[in-house]
Symmetry: C2
Subunit: 230 residues, 2 copies
DNA sequence: CGACGTGTTGATGCTCGTCAACCACAGTGG
DNA sequence: CCACTGTGGTTGACGAGCATCAACACGTCG
């Protein structure tokens, strides 16, 4: 496996804590996998056999119960996932599928455990990453329990705009039906909600949105640093 | 601080990883605090100055946004909380208040950091605990997004019954209004939902419930190992 | 006792999901 | 080139799920 291509991953949170040559050791046992879109990588209910590291592309984490399905998260490179399950060895609570052609590195859980047993810096970085994920989950729960779907959408668009430094038209990160599921609503409801936000200066054109007056939208959305990512 | 009284805490997940005399070192800087019910221990928005370890009693973690408030979790001793915030140093995303007369140990975050820097076993135990919390959060989110409030209540009662080994009448762990908020519904809706579950053999008497026929209730609730704690 | 907090019940309406129809668009194959 | 088909998005009609508001019952406590 060529080293150079993955040097960018050295700064990715849990890997950034790796000492000495452990980055190379971890990757020695890993395999690089390329996938087309719509490939299910793992189905919930089994313990993970790999830690996944997204090198390019995008992956959806989703869950099912009865005949219902919900998008839990959409990840874009660089990112790693199933870290908590890798650490605990517990069954995965979510399934994963690619949304685009995607390349990723699969590190066998045994290899991760071996390094965890020796490399205190790595353990610390893993703990920090997990602490971060706990707090992201708390934010998500607050978002779900204290806001209506219109409020969630409005805040989502605001956070999109924050990451779009200055551009007026912002591409939605996924298809609308995934976005709806992420936000905890149906596609039909998202469609209507986007219309509803026109009253606050939100314009929609296909898969792109624009905010004509941020303050006006924020006055409705009331974003909060303890719910929405800064 | 008398050692003997807290020996039971040696097996509490994050503390169980402490090596040698670090249990004593951690507690050397700690203070024991006793509170009556309804005391706010910490308000969301500030970084935590202590790691909290519940020795007796019960604590509610809750969050606020605008004029809305929601119960995120109810903890009973023994338990520790604000671990993720202690590790990351980030602002607390939740407030905490006592629900009963409660005793707890407050460990200054600096003391925790000092031990984290030296004791690899502790770091590993913290990472394991945080991994566990990540997965609990995922379960909670699945519960919220894929189930109706009636289904959440039914599954909650089933899990109560699982912990009640054999007793027919089970005490609800909190007042109904807290329970409602925990489950993401209003008190009024909980009241009606409890009536609705009578059709599946659930009886209610004040703060106690009983399940006359587990299978009948389970047939409606459809509990699932990847959502409800086993 | 009166005051207060919790729980319940009823009336009402909003939020949102469901179902169906329809449109736009891309890909396919005759 | 043009039907044919499938997919994602939108719209409308409808109803389930749920919150809100008000009233009241019941217990606890000053």
């Amino acid at each position: 496996m060529p080293e150079s291509e993955f040097d960018g991953l050295r700064t990715l949170p849990p890997l950034s804590g790796l000492q000495d040559g452990n980055f190379e050791r971890l990757f020695a046992d890993a395999t690089l996998q390329s996938c087309t879109a719509q490939i299910v990588l793992l189905t919930e209910g089994a313990p993970p056999d790999h830690l996944f590291i997204l090198v390019s592309g995008a992956v959806e984490l989703f869950a099912q119960w009865q005949d219902r399905e919900t998008t839990m998260e959409v990840l874009r490179s660089p990112a790693c996932f199933f870290l908590a399950e890798t650490v605990s060895g517990a069954d995965c609570l979510m399934s994963a599928r690619t949304l685009e052609p995607t390349r990723m590195i699969l590190v066998p859980v045994e290899a991760v455990h071996a390094i965890l047993a020796e490399d205190a810096g790595f353990v610390r970085a893993v703990a920090a990453e997990l602490a971060d994920r706990v707090q992201l989950s708390v934010r998500a729960t607050k978002n779900l329990k204290m806001r209506t779907s219109l409020e969630r959408l409005a805040n989502f668009i605001l956070s999109l705009q924050d990451m779009a430094d200055g551009r007026t038209w912002i591409e939605l990160p996924t298809e609308k039906r995934k976005l709806a599921s992420q936000l905890g609503m149906t596609p039909e409801n998202l469609s209507r909600a986007l219309k509803g936000l026109q009253a606050y200066g939100v314009k929609v054109d296909g898969g792109r949105v624009s905010v004509s007056n941020r303050d006006e939208l924020a006055k409705f959305a009331k974003p909060h640093p303890l719910i929405d990512r800064r």
